[in-house]
């Protein structure tokens, strides 16, 4: 006896480990054993190698590292005796996997053992090979295995068949070599060989087209006969399970027939009878019988159409579905998923039962049923089904809610017949399970809301009610905060009441209360708080009476440790206190967010940035870049990091500024770039750097994109027409009708009389008209501003807006200081294109802002006296 051997036997070690009371104790025992085993390995002890490996395997099963024992497996496999080889191969399969390089060293031993005289050792080798061989090993040893497919002993043949399966899975090119031997196996009588042979053929068909053709042609009839014999065979005690002879063979045969019959009329024809027989004759009171029926139904569903068989199959499924056994119901639901593609009508008939399964106690059944319901929904049944699902949402488990919510949202989005229904359902989902709703979903809700102007009042009131009860659902709070901010006036004044609504009294103060609660709630995260701040700004404009109160609320965040909130708070406070004249224009009603472009972006065609900490409520683009809220936020946001500046949205936004054509269009823009300049001047912020690069990428227009052009630069070079502030440049480019760098043309067309467009006690504006030759629709207007007062005007900004059928483009003004008493004037060029040239004449609304004696002055007017024919 080797004096250094580890003394304990396997069973003693196991006993010792099981006796341990704590994890530390167990680790101690294991460590001691491992040390002893390591010592024995170093000594090259072969007496106890067998036992040591067994111990190592147990230790491995407990989860401890045992890689030092891998070579021991190899040594044992290389030993001469059967017991050593047996434990060695087992160790190989347990301790190693195909990724280890050590495995390659076994190839030689395997080759020798595959040729061993002792057939049981051959069996061991086949087993190991079949369980863990790698692709290289498979390639090396495939010829041996092929040969063994024809071995004299059926036990080896069956092992070789299964081993071949692994080989062809690892090295598909070798599949052809196995076709003929596999076909031969199909004619055997030994059940083990038949089962494995059929399995090999099935896998061959999946991997190789050639095999599929071959088997289909040559073997289908034989297989049908084999199955027939099996079904009609007398009682065979060795293979009997629950009164059926060899259900496993039944199932394998059915599987192979499925593969052969799929897509082939003749093969399918061939098997119709036997399938009918199996479907009708098999007893379904025991699991074995049901397993066969399940396989049979799967086969019927997959092969070429035979009306009678299909009806049979659906009936079986119907019976399964109402079976009390949960397992049976589960597989029925599984099968119905596949049956839908074949006969959707039949499945629809079982809709009620399936819906019941969604509420089942069993999580697996619920899951399957939900998937099935999802597939069953169509335009006609979407309303009642959705109602059922949403009702269930209230009572479902937490872990199921996520799935259920996602499915409901998806259904509602796909099938909603009208917007009001969509909004209703989504509000319910948000109230119930808002925390499970993904960001894109509640973004989409807002997009749809903006696209339904007649429902704005209804929606905001519904949200108001909802947020009272479900304030813990974050997404709901966000959507509500956004809507109340936007449509607060509708809420308070009960605008747009629908017949189905009850009247509701909400004061301005109530609305502000809600936002304040959302802002201060401890569960509100950064996005919600940021949205609340913006909403408050909007409300401060819509409800002037609450302005002071809002200012105080907002001021509380001036010192916030979160940069985003601090910044917003300071900027908004500044707007509320000092810039009342533009406040209302800043927070005017949002235009509709373009639904189509939003969806396009969702499917990934247009890149977008979605930083959750970022701007207002929405990270959805309107057009290419960010939505209309963005310009507002960008302008106010000194550190807009990764967000491209608005492009066409810029246009929309400016559109709103000038109070023209609210919120209906996202395409046509009449943006005077002056507007943007003006705001930036006022707020003394340069355009964010990123925006220009983003825009220039997108637009490729060869713009002079001086990203950080400060307005001051623009002002200081009043005569340069080429300097364009980026965001407006962007806006213009997308709209395609504006060529920002085009020089002013000479007046070559018919002359039109100049007019005094506007005159007040302080200011006169004159317009000179010219047209480009060959372009009668476009008029070039040279505006001259004259100061009629004795004081100098500073920060002079002219804005203009035109109705839809006109397009307006403003060049930068020559300056923004207007000396007193008409000593000098500012000029600015406008270009107007009249799409209704000849039918309608030009009309324009203007707004002029300037500072006189440090007081802000705003003048507005409408110009109606354009000459005819422009």
């Amino acid at each position: 006896m080797n004096p250094f051997s580890s003394g304990t036997r396997l069973r003693d070690m196991i006993r010792a480990i099981r006796a341990c009371k704590t994890a530390a104790e167990e680790r101690g025992v294991v460590r001691k054993e491992c040390a002893a085993i390591r010592a024995a390995i170093n000594e090259n002890d072969h007496d106890y190698r067998h036992r040591n490996l067994a111990k190592l395997m147990f230790i491995h099963m407990l989860g401890y590292p045992t890689h030092f024992g891998q070579m021991e497996c190899l040594k044992l496999i290389a030993s001469a005796g059967f017991p050593e080889k047996r434990i060695g191969y087992l160790g190989l399969m347990l301790l190693l996997d195909e990724r280890q390089e050590v495995l390659m060293l076994v190839t030689n031993s395997l080759k020798q053992d595959l040729n061993h005289t002792n057939q049981y050792i051959v069996g061991l080798a086949l087993c190991a090979l079949g369980n863990i061989c790698s692709a290289e090993m498979a390639r090396d040893l495939a010829p041996e295995v092929e040969r063994l497919l024809q071995f004299r002993d059926p036990n080896i043949r069956k092992k070789a068949a299964l081993c071949s399966i692994r080989i062809i899975k690892k090295v598909p090119e070798l599949a052809e070599n196995f076709i003929n031997p596999a076909a031969a196996l199909l004619k055997e009588k030994h059940h083990g060989v038949l089962i494995t042979g059929v399995q090999l053929c099935t896998d061959l068909c999946k991997i190789s087209e050639e095999a599929l053709e071959y088997f289909r042609l040559k073997c289908t009839e034989g297989l049908v006969k084999t199955l027939k014999d099996l079904v009609n065979s007398p009682y065979a005690p060795e293979y009997d399970i629950a009164g059926i002879t060899d259900p496993f063979l039944h199932i394998r045969l059915l599987k192979l027939l499925r593969v052969l019959g799929q897509g082939d009329e003749d093969a399918s024809e061939c098997m119709n009878d036997i399938l009918a027989q199996v479907a009708t004759k098999t007893e379904s009171n025991k699991n074995a019988g049901n397993a066969i029926l399940y396989e049979c139904v799967a086969t019927i569903m997959s092969i070429e159409d035979n009306g009678g068989l299909r009806v049979l199959a659906i009936n079986i499924l119907g019976r399964f579905l109402s079976n009390r056994d949960n397992n049976i119901r589960y597989v029925a639901l599984n099968m119905l998923m596949r049956a839908i593609t074949v006969d959707a009508q039949a499945v629809q008939r079982h809709r009620a039962t399936i819906l019941e399964c969604v509420k089942d106690l069993d999580a697996s059944i619920r899951k399957r049923a939900l998937e099935l319901v999802y597939v069953l929904v169509n335009e006609t049944n979407v309303k009642p089904l959705t109602k059922e699902l949403i009702d269930y949402l209230e009572v479902s488990d937490e872990d199921f809610k996520g799935d259920l919510t996602a499915k409901i949202c998806s259904l509602v989005k796909k099938f909603s017949p009208e917007k009001i229904w969509y909004i209703d359902q989504m509000l319910k989902v948000l109230s119930e399970a808002g925390n499970f709703v993904k960001d894109e979903v509640w973004h989409a809700v807002i997009v749809v809301i903006t696209n339904s102007p007649d429902l704005h009042g209804y929606t905001v009131r519904a949200l108001y009610r909802a947020i009272q009860t479900s304030a813990d659902q974050e997404s709901l709070v966000r959507v509500a905060v956004w809507c109340i901010g936007e449509y607060g006036d509708m809420l308070v004044n009960n605008i747009g009441m629908l017949d189905v609504e009850d009247p509701i009294t909400v004061t301005e103060s109530d609305a502000v209360d809600i936002i304040e609660i959302a802002l201060k709630h401890h569960t509100s995260d950064l996005t919600t708080k940021a949205m609340a701040l913006i909403a408050l700004l909007k409300l401060s404009s819509r409800f002037p009476s609450c302005s002071e109160r809002i200012k105080e609320i907002v001021a509380q965040y001036k010192g916030s440790l979160v940069l985003e909130l601090q910044q917003r708070s300071i900027e908004m406070n500044s707007i509320i206190s000092k810039h009342q004249n533009i406040r209302s224009t800043l927070v005017e009603r949002m235009p509709t967010l373009d639904l189509l472009q939003w969806e396009e972006q969702q499917s990934g065609s247009i890149p977008t940035t979605t930083s959750t900490s970022a701007h207002a409520s929405i990270n959805i683009p309107n057009g290419v870049a960010k939505p209309s809220s963005a310009p507002l936020v960008d302008l106010l946001d000194l550190n807009s990091d990764d967000v491209p500046a608005p492009s066409s949205s810029g246009g929309d936004f400016l559109h709103d500024l000038l109070d023209v054509d609210l919120s209906k269009q996202s395409g046509v823009n009449h943006s005077p770039n002056n507007g943007t300049n003006a705001l930036m001047d006022l707020l003394s912020i340069g355009t964010p750097t990123q925006s220009s690069s983003a825009i220039s990428d997108l637009l490729n227009s060869g713009q002079d994109n001086k990203a950080s052009v400060s307005p001051l630069d623009v002002l200081s070079s009043p005569s340069s027409n080429s300097v364009q502030p980026t965001s407006s440049a962007g806006a213009i480019d997308l709209l395609d009708s504006f060529a920002t760098n085009s020089p002013i043309q000479e007046n070559n067309g018919p002359a039109y009389p100049s007019v005094v467009a506007f005159e007040s006690s302080n200011l006169r504006i004159g317009f000179n008209f010219s047209k480009l030759p060959g372009n009668p629709q476009t008029t070039i207007i040279k505006a001259t501003f004259t100061n009629l007062s004795p004081s100098v005007y500073t920060d002079f900004i002219f804005q203009a807006a035109v109705p839809k059928f006109l397009q307006l483009h403003l060049e930068p003004a020559s300056g923004n200081t207007l000396p007193a008493s008409g000593n000098e004037s500012i000029t600015q060029t406008l270009r107007v294109t009249n799409s209704q040239h000849g039918k309608k004449s030009l009309v324009m609304r203007i707004r002029i802002a300037y500072k006189m004696n440090n007081k802000d002055v705003l003048e507005e007017g409408q110009i109606n006296n354009f000459p005819q024919g422009l």
Binding site: K158, A291, V331
Partner: protein, 140 residues
């Protein structure tokens, strides 16, 4: 059919999920995109991870085959039998399944193979004992 990843973490997680299932629920769960079939025998759970196209009901039968073979081999198998003779449990499993597929549908055939293997091992042991006896005698 049988999943080849058997990391301890995976097994612990899966075991947790299965142990939490109520007794009346169906024997199939979907876990991490895979199908798992399990069956409980007294205090023992047997579970198998299968492919999407496998027949779950059949797998239940396979598990039952295995348990019956174990029962026949150990004579009223209990948990301790499997713990102290885990290697034998594996040997039996390797006669029933190979490359994740069923080798033979006859319990008798599987048991017969195992019996032959055991006889081999016994024969070798006897031979070894007789040789060492001889050597011991010689040395004495």
């Amino acid at each position: 059919m049988l999943a080849s990843f058997c990391g301890k973490k995976v097994m612990r997680e899966l075991s947790g999920v299965i142990l939490n299932r109520g007794s009346k629920l169906c024997n199939f769960i979907e876990w991490r995109g895979l199908k798992v079939v399990y069956k409980r025998y007294a205090s023992l759970y047997f579970y198998m991870c299968i492919d999407q196209e496998d027949n779950e009901l059949e797998v239940l039968e396979i598990i039952h085959q295995y348990v019956e073979i174990l029962d026949r081999y150990f004579g009223s198998v209990c948990e301790l039998d499997l713990i102290f003779n885990f290697h034998k449990a594996y040997f039996i499993l390797d006669e029933l399944l190979l490359a994740g597929e069923l080798q033979d549908s006859s319990k008798r055939a599987v048991g017969h193979m195992i019996a032959i293997h055991d006889r081999f091992v016994e024969a070798v042991k006897e031979e070894a004992n007789s040789i060492s006896n001889l050597i011991a005698q010689v040395n004495m």
